[in-house]
């Protein structure tokens, strides 16, 4: 199966994982995973959220220890009790939430934990010289005296990589390194990866972006439900990869599309959301043309930083210091959507991507959470009405099949998929006309995804308009009737649902994909 080294099979892999098992409480995250890595290869590790990618990565980098199974480096069994032991063994990890100290400058970050000290005093000149030298290896111009939180995301990524490489590691693990990068930054990153590979470094490249795999990987291993679903060549067909990832053909996962559209519920023409203060890392909408009809599911595509979340939040009037300009019509009437109260009054509801942070009162019961946004309806004369609450809860449990069927347990005790159903249900019980969703299936398993898709389609069929932002391209293509592409706060393209992924990706990254392949 190995395509990277069919002719000269190396004697021994640099890293071997044998039958590794890891459980959290009752849930098995890894159920006996095998994985091998050879020097000088880029081995892509793919998998849906919840497939076990991060667990495996955390075991390799010493953050977690395996319950069962073996890790071998150069054929010798090892066990890491903390991240430093993994680093000492030559495994460097670049985490997705970059492990940098934002308030320190680039030099201080590069030398954190390994400061150069002379007579008890930090030798800043020597460290600056060292930092310059290390950055020179990678051809990117970064001011070493700049605080890290004043750098672009791409530059932070570079600093994190350079920091990870300082111990001259033999294995580098990259966790979703392109998730926050612009197209040209992705190119620079791939150059860095190829440079490392040329030096004989072995790289585990974790991603859920199938489209970048052919450009960077030598070998692909797909994880599903805590097991290796298969190994394949990087140029395998997308449909084959998807089948490995999802475990069944795509068309079973997604409901059929809508056939008849109602009146336009949301209409944006040359709409821009002007923030009163500029914020770094915030991409306001600056030219959006978009219509969502009743009965329609519209997808918002775009890389991270393209302004997807920002657009949804601005539509929901989420207390942002700013105002809409241009045409903004809800149900045919112009509106400014200046506050959450107004947005709700107009029939909008917003389902956040951060269910634990923004969506749910995690320690409160499922029932309390379900009525949270419609308290006025269940509290006649300012008094809580258990009967009305029970009625709403019962409806939500039945409609969304939330399990277990018990409104009194803390919502934090539910599985991710059921928590996501609660977040969704909590908005739907308010009977909105237009549902805004940000990453509605983040971090939940495939089965729960399918249920969420089915519910969204039912809601649309009942006359709701649905606007879904997602970073998962297959989801947008499979679920939506129409896909709108955002780039730097502007709508740049519109596609019908079911279109091929390459066309959407080209619009998303503003790049000819063919340019890479050819």
């Amino acid at each position: 199966m190995s395509t990277a080294s069919p002719s000269a099979e190396p004697a021994r892999p640099i890293l071997e994982v044998r039958q590794v098992v890891k459980s959290f409480g009752g849930a098995k995250a890894l159920r006996g995973v095998d994985f091998t890595l050879y020097a000088g290869e880029v081995h892509a590790l793919l998998g849906e959220n919840g497939a076990g990618k991060s667990t495996l990565m955390n075991i390799l980098s010493g953050v977690l220890t395996a319950d069962e199974g073996e890790l071998l480096i150069d054929g010798v069994a090892v066990r890491f009790n903390d991240p430093r032991e993994a680093q000492a063994a030559g495994i460097a990890t670049i985490y997705q939430e970059l492990d940098l100290v934002p308030s320190l400058d680039v030099t201080a970050n590069l030398f954190l934990g390994h400061e150069i000290v002379r007579n008890g005093i930090l030798d800043n000149a020597a460290m600056r010289a060292g930092a310059r030298q290390r950055l020179a290896v990678i051809d990117v111009d970064i001011d070493i005296n700049r605080r890290v939180d004043h750098l672009s995301i791409g530059h932070r990524q570079v600093v994190a990589i350079v920091k990870a490489l300082s111990g001259a590691p033999r294995v580098v693990i990259m966790d979703e390194p392109t998730a926050a990068l612009t197209a040209s930054e992705v190119d620079s990153l791939f150059d860095i990866v190829r440079g490392l590979r040329a030096k004989g470094v072995a790289i585990i490249y974790i991603s859920h972006r199938l489209e970048e795999v052919p450009f960077v990987a030598d070998r692909v291993t797909v994880l599903r439900d805590g097991l290796v679903a298969g190994e394949t060549a990087p140029n395998a067909l997308q449909s084959d990869l998807v089948r490995l990832l999802v475990g069944r053909p795509l068309d079973e996962l997604y409901p059929r599309r809508s056939t008849k559209l109602g009146r336009p519920l949301l209409n944006l023409e040359h709409a821009r959301f002007r923030l009163w203060h500029e914020r770094s890392g915030w991409q306001p909408a600056c030219g959006v043309n978009l219509t969502v009809h009743a009965g329609e599911i519209v997808g918002l595509a775009g890389i991270m930083g393209s302004g997807r979340t920002e657009l949804l939040m601005a539509l929901f009037g989420s207390g942002l210091p700013g105002a809409w300009e241009g045409v903004v019509e809800v149900d045919g009437q112009a509106t400014k959507l200046q506050s959450i109260a107004v947005a709700r009054l107009r029939g909008l509801a917003f389902v956040t991507d951060d269910r634990r942070g923004n969506g749910l009162m995690i320690r409160m019961s499922v029932g309390r959470n379900l009525v949270m946004s419609i308290l006025r309806q269940v509290t006649p004369f300012f008094l809580a009405s258990p009967a009305k609450e029970a009625e709403v809860e019962e409806r939500a449990f039945r409609q969304f099949d939330i399990r277990p069927h018990d409104a009194t347990i803390a919502v934090g005790a539910l599985s991710g998929g059921n928590q996501q159903k609660v977040v969704l249900a909590k908005e739907v019980v308010g009977e909105p006309h237009l549902l805004l969703l940000d990453e509605p299936t983040r971090g939940i398993d495939v089965g729960a995804k399918g249920e969420i898709y089915a519910r969204l389609r039912e809601l649309a069929d009942a006359g709701l308009g649905v606007l879904v932002a997602s970073s998962e391209m297959p989801e947008l293509i499979g679920l939506c009737d129409k896909i709108v592409v955002l780039r730097e706060g502007r709508t740049v393209a519109e596609f019908p649902g079911g279109i091929d992924e390459h066309s959407v990706l080209a619009a998303v990254t503003a790049k000819e994909i063919a340019h890479h392949v050819g």
């Binding site: 991240p83 430093r84 680093q87 985490y95 970059l98 492990d99 940098l100 100290v101 934002p102 308030s103 320190l104 201080a108 970050n109 954190l112 934990g113 390994h114 400061e115 000290v117 008890g120 005093i121 930090l122 990117v140 939180d149 004043h150 750098l151 672009s152 791409g154 530059h155 920091k163 612009t182 197209a183 040209s184 930054e185 620079s188 203060h277 500029e278 914020r279 770094s280 890392g281 915030w282 780039r487 730097e488 503003a510």
Partner: protein
């Protein structure tokens, strides 16, 4: 911004904005110094004048200001370390009181010499702080709660040891008398100009500045407050650093307690109330973020001096204590708002 040049070249994408941000950031960076300058100018302009002399600038008055702030200043130096790690220490005022009681008791009732007393009291202070740090890291408790409990414990111990009595310190040779040299803490040196208490504060500030800015320990303090996880993964001994900063505030509070005993010639279980808030105020006005990861010792010193100068100016003009509190409150809010503005412009790190 055009579509054709994506983000990698930072100068182009950031180029327009920083001008204003930098001004604001600079203003915040030096807010305590600017505030100090403003208060000083205000002091000169609004100072009562007697016999043609501006009272605010009279050598005696200046000596008064810097003497009055020395105790909270010493504590604020320690507090700066704690707050940069995103922690807080509420026990400092009570610990000062306990230390003043211990100092007086040891020298007067127990009859210990100067050095053993000073060593013991400062060690007890450091150990008290370290214990709070240990409890907070070991059991993953908020320092707010742990040091709030520490405040009660220290105050309780002080009451027990002193029997809720002032323990007066008399000087001389013999049993029940403190070594006369100890009284120097209440005096002034250099032609009767510079209070000794202030010199202790200056020594703390200088050493604190050096430790914070030029040593590995200082760098780790910033790292722990800036991103604890990153610090841990980089091999920084996070728990040890946290325990150490509470040991430092404990040591500083004990020293302030000794200075207190020396200045007033007694130990009392009821002194030092509210000192923790004054010290925290000095640190925050000095530009150190309560969210951790950023701050400056020089700012803290300027913040402490500014608060003292302001209180002095209001006293000189016979403005009542209630208005002094109002003015201090307004300044703290102003300092915090300025920081929040900068943070919002910079985005990200909360």
């Amino acid at each position: 911004m055009s579509d054709s040049t994506p983000q990698l070249a930072t100068p182009a994408s950031v180029g327009k904005r920083p001008q204003r941000v930098d001004l604001l950031a600079v203003a915040v960076r030096f807010q305590s110094l600017i505030g100090l300058a403003l208060v000083s100018v205000g002091g000169i302009v609004f100072s009562p004048v007697r016999h043609g002399q501006i009272l605010f600038l009279a050598p005696d008055n200046i000596a008064n200001i810097i003497r009055a702030i020395s105790e909270t200043g010493i504590i604020a130096v320690g507090m700066t370390f704690v707050i940069i790690t995103a922690g807080i220490d509420l026990s400092v005022g009570a610990l000062l009181s306990l230390s003043s009681v211990l100092t007086a008791t040891m020298m007067v009732s127990v009859g210990w010499g100067l050095l053993p007393t000073l060593l013991t009291v400062t060690l007890v202070g450091a150990a008290f702080g370290a214990a709070q740090g240990l409890i907070s890291t070991r059991f993953q408790l908020e320092p707010f709660i742990v040091t709030l409990a520490g405040l009660q414990v220290a105050r309780g111990l002080a009451l027990v040891v002193s029997g809720n009595q002032y323990i007066n310190i008399s000087y001389g040779d013999g049993p029940g008398l403190a070594p006369p040299i100890f009284a120097i803490l209440g005096e002034r040196l250099f032609n009767n100009t510079v209070p000794v208490a202030t010199l202790v504060f200056v020594a703390f500030a200088v050493i604190g500045t050096i430790v914070l800015n030029t040593t590995r320990f200082g760098r780790y303090v910033f790292a722990v407050g800036g991103n604890e996880r990153a610090a841990r993964l980089s091999g920084v001994p996070v728990s040890l650093i946290k325990i150490s900063v509470y040991a430092i505030t404990g040591f500083a509070s004990a020293t302030a307690g000794i200075v207190h005993a020396g200045q007033f010639n007694f130990g009392s279980a009821n002194d030092g109330t509210g000192y923790e808030l004054t010290a925290i105020a000095a640190v925050v006005i000095g530009g150190t973020s309560l969210f951790g990861g950023a701050g400056s010792m020089i700012g803290t010193v300027a913040g402490a001096v500014m608060l003292g100068a302001l209180a002095n100016l209001l006293q000189l003009n016979n403005i009542n204590a209630a208005l002094q509190l109002l003015a201090t409150g307004a300044i703290i809010v102003l300092a915090a708002v300025l920081q929040s503005l900068v943070r919002r412009h910079e985005g990200g790190s909360r």
